[in-house]
Symmetry: C2
Subunit: 336 residues, 2 copies
Amino acid sequence: MVSIKDVARIAGVSDKTVSRVVNREPNVTQDTIEKVQSAIDALGYIPNLAARSIRSSRTNIIGIITDYISTTPYSGDIVRGVQDWAGANGRTVLLANTDGNAEREANIWRTFKAHRIDGVLYVAMYHRTVAPASGDVSIPTVLVNSHAEAGLTYSSIEPDDFGGSYALTQHLVELGHRRIGYIRLNPLLLGANQRLDAFLAATQAGGIAENDIIVRLGMEGPIGAETNYVYREALSILSMPNRPTALVCGNDEMALQAYLAALSLGLRIPDDITIVGFDDFRTVSLALKPELTTVALPYYDLGWQGAEMLNDLAEGASAIERRILKCNLVGRQSSK
Amino acid sequence: MVSIKDVARIAGVSDKTVSRVVNREPNVTQDTIEKVQSAIDALGYIPNLAARSIRSSRTNIIGIITDYISTTPYSGDIVRGVQDWAGANGRTVLLANTDGNAEREANIWRTFKAHRIDGVLYVAMYHRTVAPASGDVSIPTVLVNSHAEAGLTYSSIEPDDFGGSYALTQHLVELGHRRIGYIRLNPLLLGANQRLDAFLAATQAGGIAENDIIVRLGMEGPIGAETNYVYREALSILSMPNRPTALVCGNDEMALQAYLAALSLGLRIPDDITIVGFDDFRTVSLALKPELTTVALPYYDLGWQGAEMLNDLAEGASAIERRILKCNLVGRQSSK
DNA sequence: ATATCGAATGTCGACGTCGTCATTTCAATT
DNA sequence: AATTGAAATGACGACGTCGACATTCGATAT
């Protein structure tokens, strides 16, 4: 590999002068700059960041630790947000995936430390409580789409499931719905409870009677291997003699199944039944006809802002911040 | 940061001896090993990989360059496959995303070279032809889910869209379907043509008359901003007086729309109409009721095997290999 | 011509690790 | 006790970069 010394030799200057040119330091003649630059171009010289980092003890690398990357398709957008921030700020991203395996996680922390990375974004693919196994040597860490278990202090950034669900429910109340069905997510998911709680709070605030609320469990069991009751429950709710006029689903994938149930019963959406989802998982929400009213999770922003927070931390900010990002209602044609 | 010298001082040995222990070199007394090990544990010493790499000019880092990571949800599995291989083989993964932007791509190559990574996996998120902008200095590179434009020589690994589509079509012929509709993908996608070609070849081989094949265009326009005709075309095909008994969709998302169209016409799946997809995009294929017969893309294996191929290349193998991975038929309840 | 001073450039060493080679230790053999 | 040889350990330098400091250069003022 061509090094700074090779460039120096070709340009007929010292290695330090090349270094000055590369790092755009002042007090270098225009003439010298050109000589050096053409030597760089001729040799295709690219500075060795490893060497740089052992001198400066700063790597400009941030690490991402993810868990179940493939179970929640769009959460990859978190990673994209981080990457875009990194690209815009001269950082590089090291990525590793635990698959929920503790031993693997410990290894990843070790490797990241060996790389002397500047910080870690600990990204949960579904919104939940986590306990990073960072070990004794500490690295600046920000939890993304998650927060720390009781007793652990980490900065974190999360979506406002509660607020999003509240807004969505309010939307239905404003449309005049007085009897509403609800199919809830796997209770293991943090969002499941927050969304349901907000739904119940908003319906109550909207003056809807308790027995005009029909709540059913849509899924349960371990993440990635859950049992799915959604279709059956949707059929059951929609077959009730006094069927509700709106059906709220824990997420868009559930809404899809509710669509199928509704259509197979000959119901038209949204004329006979309003159906709404959550996540704005676009491969589903936009493919459904009519397109689905849902709530968008701010995945990309979680990543971008999480990276910003991490940067603050790595620069010395010591305050622990717990940031909550808004989930916006996305009104489409499935609600009326 | 604690270095090898700190450990040496505490253990009362030379830095080289610590190095020997860390790297499990022979000819070290058991006694010394223990002394050193306890110093390592006490200090929490972790070797600095950057320092190691400037000596050995081997980083054990492989880079992944992706394009449109968020448009094809499950293709993140390619990355997961790479990561798993890396984890199992002591490598670390550097990740960057071009978003289809050439300038960004050039920057990424520069950065990767600056990190002196061992090789690059150039991953396309949808199957296509690519022209990596790797610049003059070369790094071992393998193209994943893509192959090189004419004139460029790169090793590559791709899914066998043709074979998968052929098997799927054959399955329908074997089920006795003699009149079949086909909604095709955006022609910009490489898979679009391969899948359609295989469909036409398999129907012809199965003795189906040309005018019993109804092909419609489902999508067109730039990736990520296409116009979608699927629902309309599905309705149109399914409303024909002599409607086909099976409908093949370019991918699972299209199949979803075909389901909606069929149900809204009061048709039952699969009794009145067989519908099949492609991709085995599980959030859709398993959520559909009945579950969708489709073809699985070997995303994970593309990643894992791509990493293997890259490793061979980095170790000195000079042969260019073009590997094609099988796409397996996944029979479920939507075909009969 | 000479002194002065800032600008331009160079020399040197340190960062952390490990290969090379030299030195020390120790047990086995004469 | 002296010799031998292998095993164990250490000293040193190089990898590529850049900070600290030293030196040289060139222009201006005397």
